[in-house]
Subunit: 240 residues, 4 copies
């Protein structure tokens, strides 16, 4: 089955900030999309904040099995109507993969119900991600751990609901740990949070990072049960 | 330890709707508060929608270990500022017990991130609640199951995140089942959803229902860890 | 991907008990295997208790992606070595689908760590199974609920660990509820418990039951992460 | 409520191995018991492997609300009957706190259903334990993280079922992470695994470690629901 994936990006810092542009001249979304195309099995499109309806009108969402989300400096500029459309589509079955600083996006906070806050430090030192659930499809093809030689640090406490499944835990050189690969179900939709991806590091060119994103997209696009009905309903069994 | 509990009620139907007033002449909150006072170990106050700041100004919330929430016809009249205050206080450690039609309250939806929708039917028939987690303090003193001889039906699918703990499952005469006792952690706070309590039935005078609410309040008021710090942080370990 | 599935059956009552033989003349395993063959995508073999090594020597398990397990009156006759082989193979990544009275099998109890006890009643009345997690692949193609017009009752409390995922909850005409579709991860393996299937009812010819078993097998056969290494290990990062 | 706690220890290395005896001259159990006595609210007794019935006859278990377990080199010498008695008592509601190398004890493996294997290294370097669930009573009174300046390393993958609650995650100087504070429910009993405690380090004199053990004991001793009944049962509701 081909998974239809839309790669969403705020796409601001790549246009204005020279060190970011040096790494992602065409935008972070283009790097992520390239990784998915290389992985195969995906029909990939991209969308960005400054497009009409933030690039996510109903017709795009309706044709999207999985949406990936990267944002950082402009979370508040995402329109309320966009958040509502994406939220409704997730509950209706679309997968959502929230990346790195997307932890503070309006859509992630709405789905989690918590502050989604965390500790951070832009020191560009080593991160090692350990697989703690080797039974999970998101870990397919990874070794027991993998390294990003330079990344921003994110540290606990990460103010999220306890994940339904915890797949990856990060070790940082400065002494911190972090729940870096988490899954949630919301309505008929599946949500993945995946930590790495600071804009000043070439993280989305890393083979392991690309593999996790592709695995997560396949997992989040799995078939699901029937759309439930709600409201006032007659008995399904005869009276006693 | 005495648990300081605030019993919140919309308090509308009891004032305007004769059949409801017949059961709860002083309001549902007064019945719930009486049950808690009888249980002992609680310092109980009440608060209602039409009070200033919806009865929940900062000083009340600061002096509240556990808040119970009953609302039905006026969810939209709860002020946004109230929802924000309660939400922040839950993340900071206050327990929250959401009762019956409170499933559609703004605060519960904000904490859950889902529609919180369900099936319902006002037929006043039997409900039987089964304990499925006998290791849980919320089940203390209950039998293996207990009966409410007349209640509104709530049926699956209940659109909530998978509960951290599932304590009670209801059986309804009309053929439905429902996850009736669910717990969640959000930040440093603990949240319980407990299903029974339609305004046209004397549910909050039932001994088992009162016991569950008291147990839930004690559970939600447990000690917790330190308030986390967030934001930009120096390394905690020396450089490698 | 073709899933290699082995359908294991105790195969005793079908040979000795006329009412059971009337329904399953060739054995319960043959009915389950037929359902999987009809579903497509499976390479199906069967194995039974009275074969050498209980039909499950190492070479069979090594060539099995998912094992289904039905047993009832002869759990204690399964050899300890068989239990150990199956247990090791599950931890190494084989899926296991435990059916109905298999709740008391030695392999299920070993994987769960609890008594796996429950209430039961052979009254052949109605069971209705509700989907409580419509995001789960095991629910694919089911309606919101489905009915078995005659089945044995199983009632709570079911003494299992809290499931990683709860997919189905049963309603019984006699007033009971039951967690009927549960998933667990153990090592690199995935385990599903699915309730229906008493030997005196034609349950394994039911289209919905067959669909759940096929869905569960596909889910349990998903790719997983690398086989972990254990024991004494040198540091992975340079000394601080 | 006073919690009756039995501190169990294998008590072998302290008698034969000089470096261990230098730290724990009276045995690890005596150090753990002292910490619990200092914490207050506990009635503490100890029991060791070489006593009759491994120090855990029925009358001791019946008078024990919470049992702590430390073992290392003699797991196989624990009698099968002892494992069965402890297992039955946990399912019936006794709390169990498994410490450090107790991960490989027969009782822990029986309750978990997995290999409980892990990576290890006796290098006596730093461990930092982070609270990832600040809403949990086990974290009460701890800071956001705490340090043990010398400990054995335990690293992922730790082959346990996904914990019901994950409270602590360790960072190790050599690059590893570990799920160090985990809770499980089994039957009516509550189980905690807490990682630190190698016999060549004075870990059980550490104030934070003592606090976690006392917190865990209080948590594991909480009230629970009624003892379930099992087996053949008449309907609880009238026929339809």
């Amino acid at each position: 089955m081909t998974v239809r994936i839309t790669v969403w990006n705020e796409h601001r810092q790549e246009r204005t900030d020279a060190p970011v542009r040096a790494i992602y001249p065409d935008g972070i979304h283009v790097a992520i999309a390239a990784g998915l195309r290389d992985a195969g099995g995906f029909e990939v499109r991209t969308a960005t904040l400054d497009e009409a309806q933030n690039g996510l009108p109903d017709e795009v969402l309706a044709a999207t099995d999985v949406l990936t989300w990267w944002g950082h400096v402009a979370h508040d500029e995402v329109e309320e109507a966009t958040v509502e459309r994406v939220h409704a589509r997730v509950l209706d079955g679309m997968g959502l993969i929230v990346l790195h600083s997307g932890h503070f996006s309006r859509i992630f906070k709405r789905l989690m119900g918590t502050s989604c806050d965390l500790k951070w430090r832009e020191d560009g030192r080593r991160e090692r991600l350990w697989v703690v659930d080797p039974a999970h499809p998101i870990a397919e093809g990874l070794g027991e751990s993998f390294v990003l030689s330079e990344e921003e640090m994110y540290g606990e406490h990460f103010d999220i609901p306890p994940p339904d499944e915890l797949v990856l835990v990060s070790w940082f050189e400065g002494g911190e740990v972090f729940r870096s690969g988490c899954t949630y179900r919301r309505g008929r939709g599946r949500v993945v949070y995946f930590r790495p991806g600071h804009e000043t590091h070439p993280t989305y060119f890393d083979a392991n990072v690309r593999r996790v994103i592709a695995n997560a997209a396949r997992w989040a696009a799995q078939p699901s049960g029937e759309r439930p009905t709600y409201g006032n309903r007659p008995p399904v069994e005869p009276p006693g």
